[in-house]
């Protein structure tokens, strides 16, 4: 008997006033009983619209049916056929614009909580089973994966399952890419990422940290030392700044820097070795998931006030809905239809040695209104003349996107990039313009989602297998 409740089972969360001061995970997950109850809301539609909304086409009604039967491991195995990182994606996917946006139950109420169920299944599996996925007998072929973020981990896992000897090269001292340096602990506990990396190692994948491909070794050298194919999943690169005056004042960060200091370098812990500006008033410029992460991290680090400054309105805000709701609950103030024009800094003309010199004292913003739609159909924000005001802040975090990392392009002949610096690939295979070299994730698309990067890693793994098997 289907559960006809129009509402999703709520997911237990830490109370906003408590979680705003700690780095523990915000949402705590479904119990078995609640998961079954939520699964019963699924009507098991024949045409499965939700599957088409999933970038990796997980067989959603099938895994939900297994939950209904109480076969949680069976449910995991269904997801695992299409997705390598369910514990991650259940937490960070924007389900409301993907699978859940297509759910029939969403027409007259809330859609089935597909993301919450995916997370439940993955967590159940991780809590009850500790064996790595089975791998085929070694086939004698070596593949190099550059970058250990979602696309690289996925590509490496899929190839290892097929019997390839895979080495993952990571530039930083820890594996996980954006899952480790970018997404905060309160949204994605690092133990989950570590478990995924440990699984790969159990499957025979070598993870080499502290190797910067494009510097320590080039792509051509990887072929010279015996790798027969290379997957590039180097992710987002240099952070963008607005190009307004004052962006070099002390207290202006890119979101990448702010989050890396807190997440990867553990500046959020007591007596950290890596410094970060804590407390005071903070403005985060931008409206994506990274902006929400930065704002909520600043709050947890002890800021007295945190603003999100975004030039369009709430409707266009690209962040995952749940993160926006959580941010609002935690007391983050959204300055919508506002755009920074200048960052102001302290300058004591009488004393060049004044320790306050060069620190941020405020941010001048201008009000915006929405004008005509642009080529993508989004209404273009237009400045309202004379509406400037000063926001009283002492930290500004720029979260307005990144441009691809130039290191590999600079040292790899025959690898073409588009005018934004993204690696050019054949979409159906991930093949680049250089033979044997494949790419996916943010290095190709510019900043996008974990799930799309994961999908690109899967596509490339399949194509690499076909390429090497036909050679």
């Amino acid at each position: 008997m289907a559960n006809m409740s129009p509402k999703k089972n709520p997911i237990p969360t830490q109370e906003p006033e408590i979680r705003a001061h700690n780095f523990e995970e915000v949402a705590m997950g479904y119990s078995e009983a609640v998961a079954i109850d939520e699964a019963l809301r699924c009507l098991n539609c024949k045409n499965m619209p939700c599957v088409s909304g999933c970038p990796v086409n997980i067989h959603i009604p099938e895994f939900i049916s297994k939950i209904k039967e109480g076969d949680f491991e069976g449910a995991y195995q269904v997801i695992n056929r299409s997705s390598s990182l369910p514990a991650v994606c259940g937490r960070v996917c924007p389900q409301e614009t993907q699978c859940e946006s297509k759910c029939v139950r969403g027409i007259k109420g809330e859609p089935v909580g597909i993301g919450r169920l995916e997370r439940f299944v993955a967590d159940w599996h991780n809590a009850h089973l500790d064996e790595a996925p089975a791998v085929a007998a070694p086939n004698g072929h070596k593949v190099a994966v550059v970058g250990s973020g979602p696309s690289g981990l996925t590509c490496a896992g899929d190839l290892a399952k097929k019997g390839y000897k895979v080495t993952v090269f990571e530039a930083l001292h820890a594996a996980g890419g954006v899952l480790v340096y970018g997404i905060p602990e309160f949204r994605l506990p690092k133990a989950i990422v570590q478990k995924e990396v440990d699984n790969l190692v159990k499957m025979g994948v070598d993870v080499e940290t502290n190797i910067v491909i494009g510097k320590t070794l080039t792509i051509d050298e990887l072929f010279d030392i015996g790798y027969e194919a290379v997957f590039i999943g180097t992710g987002a690169g240099l952070p963008n700044f607005m190009g307004i005056p004052g962006e070099s004042y002390k207290g202006v960060y890119s979101a990448n820097e702010f989050l890396t200091r807190s997440n990867l370098m553990k500046a959020y812990k007591e007596s950290p070795v890596t410094p970060i500006m804590k407390g005071g008033k903070v403005a985060v410029v931008g409206g994506g998931n990274v902006a929400m992460d930065a704002a909520r991290t600043a709050l947890r680090l002890g800021a007295e006030k945190v603003y999100i400054v975004y030039r369009r309105s709430m409707e266009e805000l690209p962040a995952r809905r749940e993160e926006v709701e959580h941010a609002i609950e935690e007391g983050i103030e959204f300055k919508l239809l506002n755009n920074p024009v200048e960052i102001l800094g302290y300058n004591n003309p009488d004393d060049k040695r004044d320790a306050r010199n060069g620190f941020v004292t405020g941010m001048k913003c201008i009000c915006m209104e929405l004008g005509e739609p642009d080529e993508r159909g989004r209404r273009r924000p237009v400045e309202i003349k004379g509406s400037e005001f000063i926001l009283d802040v002492n930290t500004v975090i720029m979260s307005i996107g990144t441009s691809p990392n130039p290191l590999i392009k600079m040292t790899t002949n025959g690898l073409d990039v588009n005018k934004r610096g993204g690696i050019i690939v054949e979409e159906s295979t991930g093949a680049t313009t250089k033979e044997g070299v494949y790419a996916g994730g943010d290095a190709v698309t510019g900043a996008a989602t974990v799930i799309s990067a994961m999908g690109a890693g899967k596509t490339a793994a399949k194509a690499i297998d076909e390429y090497l098997m036909s050679k």
């Binding site: 320590t216 890119s254 290191l407």
Partner: protein, 284 residues
């Protein structure tokens, strides 16, 4: 883990270490840098390559004990290990075609200037080196510079060794006397590099500076190492880790770089004191 093959104290606050890192040693060139972490919980700090031995697979670093991390690094001894050592990062100093070059090094910056002087000497260029220190007891690498320099000026601020005065004194004398250089390359404290650039500017001789801002990843991801260049009346943001560390000295906004360099001064002082206390407790 990366083994410390050799450790040598160059003066009471400057230490040389040779680290076993074959991948880095195979590629390193003068002007590039590495990033290291002393232990599993450590901070990432950039240090410029002071030398390399491709056959032995080792890279030499020379560092001044200025903060918590360099203090902790200095506690390590030969045969011990540090947890991370990654590189070579940044773009190597461009030396092609240079025939007469003046190298100006200040303090521990001389350690980075030396491999450049050595490379130029190997290339057959005429090398003039000016190395400056606060006082006699912290002079480093004088013999090494002597070997590769056609002209060498050793300066101390207090006159306790060599000539009294800063590095700009002999530089200006030479420039005023019409001594020509293809390029002046300067490495040292920001304030020194700023004055060297101003001394060279009237001559129009190309002047390269080596920047060492605060960094985290060093691979072009965080943007913390950004600096501003003034080029043709426009302000341009560059990232020292991927665009540098060498820049055209005439374009660098030194005042901004100096301001950014002390962003975490208070934090760093406390961390340094805490680390010193921690190690002195362990000794007891």
């Amino acid at each position: 883990m990366y083994k410390i093959l050799r450790k040598e104290s160059l003066n009471p606050t400057v230490t040389l270490m040779e680290i076993e890192a074959p991948f880095v040693a195979a590629k390193a060139q003068a002007g590039q840098f590495i990033i290291l972490r002393v232990d599993g919980e450590g901070e990432r700090i950039p240090l410029t390559v002071a030398g390399y031995d491709r056959e032995k697979g080792s890279v030499t670093i020379i560092f001044q004990i200025v903060g918590a991390t360099t203090y902790a690094l200095n506690q390590k001894n030969e045969g011990e290990y540090i947890s991370d050592f990654v590189g070579p990062l940044g773009v190597a100093t461009k030396l092609d075609g240079l025939k007469r070059v003046c190298i100006v090094g200040g303090g521990v910056g001389c350690a980075i200037a030396l491999p450049i002087a050595q490379k130029l000497h190997e290339m057959g260029a005429h090398v003039t080196s000016i190395i400056g220190f606060r006082s006699k007891d912290i002079v480093i690498l004088e013999d090494e510079f002597k070997k590769v320099s056609d002209v060498l000026h050793v300066m101390t601020d207090d006159g306790s060794y060599g000539r009294q005065g800063n590095v700009c004194v002999p530089l200006k004398e030479m420039l005023d006397a019409g001594v020509g250089f293809d390029e002046v390359i300067t490495i040292g404290p920001l304030i020194m590099m700023k004055f060297v650039v101003e001394a060279v500017r009237p001559t129009g001789i190309p002047c390269t500076v080596s920047m060492n801002p605060i960094m985290i990843d060093g691979t072009g991801m965080c943007g913390g190492c950004r600096l501003t260049l003034n080029r043709d009346g426009e302000k341009i943001t560059k990232f020292a880790c991927v665009d540098g560390p060498d820049f055209n000295g005439y374009e660098v906004d030194f005042d901004e770089a100096m301001s950014r360099a002390v962003m975490y001064k208070d934090f760093e002082r406390h961390a340094y004191e805490d680390t010193c206390n921690l190690f002195s407790k362990e000794v007891k």
